[in-house]
Symmetry: C2
Subunit: 404 residues, 2 copies
Amino acid sequence: MRVLLVGAGGVGTAITRIAARRPFFEAMVVADYDPARAEAAVAALDDARFAAERVDASDEAAVAELLRRHECDVLLNATDPRFVMPLFRAARTAGATYLDMAMSLSHPHGEQPYEKCGVKLGDEQFAQAEEWEKAGALALVGMGVEPGLSDVFARYAADELFDEIEEIGVRDGANLTVDGYDFAPSFSIWTTIEECLNPPVVYESDRGWFTTEPFSEPEVFDFPEGIGPVECVNVEHEEVLLVPRWVKARRVTFKYGLGREFIETLRTLHLLGLDRTDPVTVPSAAGAVAVSPRDVVAACLPDPATLGERMHGKTCAGTWVRGTKDGAPREVYLYHVVDNQWSMAEYGSQAVVWQTAVNPVVALELVATGAWSGSGVLGPEAFPARPFLELLTAYGSPWGMREQ
Amino acid sequence: MRVLLVGAGGVGTAITRIAARRPFFEAMVVADYDPARAEAAVAALDDARFAAERVDASDEAAVAELLRRHECDVLLNATDPRFVMPLFRAARTAGATYLDMAMSLSHPHGEQPYEKCGVKLGDEQFAQAEEWEKAGALALVGMGVEPGLSDVFARYAADELFDEIEEIGVRDGANLTVDGYDFAPSFSIWTTIEECLNPPVVYESDRGWFTTEPFSEPEVFDFPEGIGPVECVNVEHEEVLLVPRWVKARRVTFKYGLGREFIETLRTLHLLGLDRTDPVTVPSAAGAVAVSPRDVVAACLPDPATLGERMHGKTCAGTWVRGTKDGAPREVYLYHVVDNQWSMAEYGSQAVVWQTAVNPVVALELVATGAWSGSGVLGPEAFPARPFLELLTAYGSPWGMREQ
């Protein structure tokens, strides 16, 4: 297997560190808009299978050319969701397998944004599913930790733990703190704003997909391994769009453990219009310039990938499932916890970034060995769960299950 | 009297509308960085005494030249506080009387910003007081509503209402709402951030000036004329620096009725570093550019001067004084309320902007008639209060007093 990894930010760099320990691929070309980032990631490894390139992820033709030039059979997308579509199309053009960790972006419903779905997450990708299927080509979408591992958990629950499922609720929470910062998000603020301020999507088997007001249905979820109770709210996330396509459940939700302070901060950004991505005109030393307020918010905060050394605590991704087994009610939480101290010591990557990065590497290895195969645009729950969970454990990062 | 008015924003434009009804001056030249703003203000008046010019307020030499060319004997500064020093120096250079509504900016103490003063508001101006005095020239500083009318109230209380004063506390509150906006400050957000996030300054006769944490000493103050109770907190403001120079009081404070939501919004902006004025680098269509986050916050919000039509409610500026008269304890609140509906109908200016603008026009008229005269760098409380309060009433905008 020859892989083109696009994006050498926090997650992309962690992917190179995790993949470097595995023998399943022959080559991994690391490409970034900023060649210094790609070169730094490769230079840190001392592994002849890795090479650095510069590429503009929005330039579909350049990406396809790069795939061909390096004879890559897989494109792994580790950029932010704005670049999903050009990279997805470039992979198809070049005949490569495609993997990503977030799907094409949504657009709210014009008249009833908090009731009805407009363009849903992944809609643009699924619209091309037939083309991929006909070509016998595979696009494995939403294959990070959430979406990704959370979807694998949903499939595992359906296959092995339940006869009937009432509700599948992805629940994400952490107790991470960062020394020296009163406010330092542990993940890309651009993406966090996008997913938290868009209308959250919910699935119910008799209604289909629908949306609610942001931060709806708050609940306190008790996270395992010492993290404890965190306030979680509905957030727009890919699992709600992916799980019902392959797993039967009456209801599917995603709730993010943002905590009260973070929710209020996001509300304020929205109130002030600072979450906007369309440009506003401001003075600068070079005269009036047009900038995106959301980019300015991101520029004022520290880069989450650089915070590992100052970070303490654990992050938990998981899937809570309620239903029946052998006629009796059952409720479980399948989860994966990463301790920042461990991920920093083992990989030099902070916990949230490492947890996102390990899952696509496991998936690549399953594709390389043939344990996972298929064609079309498929989510992680379209594949058998057990081989994935076993390989994740073999990577040194076990998962857990709590009967509730 | 021939006046150069620098700044044709909300307050500057309201000044032209108020002044146009008064006969005390021969000419008012309205100058702005944006010539269209100056021309619009002049065109609206149909009064041959007014003329429009373009000027860069940071260009001291150009301002002095403009003063000389139009033979102006007064410079009235209606720009934001960043331009105080060049305009103040230009007036001195050209031999003109100088008036402003905010004083030169402060810089926090390097080691103990929330205990000790660094460079205080107005320090740069007072450093040149001797030069003005020697030249027999007058700089009347802090002559808006707050500082300005609030200082006149303090002098009035000392002269006519009290034998001894324990505390003078300026208290500002409003019940303004803006249709169609969840968040729309009624005054320049740039200035509001500056004054609310700088360490608040307090004066005590036995300690001198000192600072506290932002938003300290919250209290609920009951404002008159139907505004009612509003949560007020300590804020850095010129009155605390001006009043003790001319009026004897054991303690001087300024508390701003921001309300809980606005305080939390400002805290969040600070937490995220969005109150910063030093530039951050962000992408733009023209490549990477450096912009001030605070300018971006301002650009995302509506221009307060344009909100008058959608605004409802009243704004109150005033000075609360506690002390003794004829051996008995006394407590009064001297205040000035503007109803937005009235100021829009009468002048087409929103209440907060109009209330700021009327006071320097009254002061100009007192200087023109000789009722107020002096030399040096002087605050409003350096002059007799009664002629000011009588003329303000004659302008159709009476003040009030509440015995507590």
